[in-house]
Symmetry: C2
């Protein structure tokens, strides 16, 4: 499944009830996704622990991202990108409550991403 | 080679003499790159014909992209993304002459991208 073309800021429809996930490109081993948040955060005490690597770029809005192996959270502004290596535990502490936060996420399956994970 | 984190709009240093290419993530089969253009275009008559698939997102500036199999060029504004399937011939007709044009390009090697190319 592949969207030939579009605009990443179009048709955001932020929803306070749930984040919106859309695949922009999906191929074996790689998936490019748009995520639209509106005040959502990871549940208290929940940590993502993903076998995939994830390269994430915040395009609009604001978010607070936390890694289990770091003392302080990272405050993300538009244009900030972060590489999340496989199995690096992390959570989203907060997203802006008053406007859409738009993420571009590139998910890389383990055989690809593991190479880099070992290099951390 | 992986940059842990950064801002896609930082340190652009647009150069009228040459486009700037920087790898943000490089793993077997996948490469995420920032390209900063300032008025550059593909040479007259030149067409890219790449074995890789390329998912491209224009973040700042403006560009005109042309596919060999389309009659009209596409004018790209910030937020516009386009999937360029492997071997789909294309060229950049123009980029904004007066300000930086910033591209995010996700390059996918043939074994990944070919699956989709067959589906076009």
């Amino acid at each position: 499944m592949t969207i030939d073309a579009g605009n990443i800021h179009a048709d955001l429809r932020p929803d306070p009830a749930a984040e919106r996930f859309e695949d922009l490109l999906s191929l074996p081993g790689v998936r490019i996704e748009r995520i639209v948040s509106l005040g959502q955060a990871s549940p208290p005490g929940f940590w993502y622990d993903q076998p995939q690597g994830e390269w994430v770029l915040l395009l609009d809005g604001a978010a607070t991202l936390r890694f289990a192996d770091e003392a302080l959270p990272r405050r993300l502004q538009p244009g900030d990108y972060v590489w999340i290596a496989p199995h690096r535990r992390h959570r989203v502490e907060a997203t802006a409550p008053d406007r859409a936060t738009v993420w571009l996420a590139v998910h890389l399956d383990a055989p690809l991403a593991a190479v880099d994970a070992s290099g951390r």
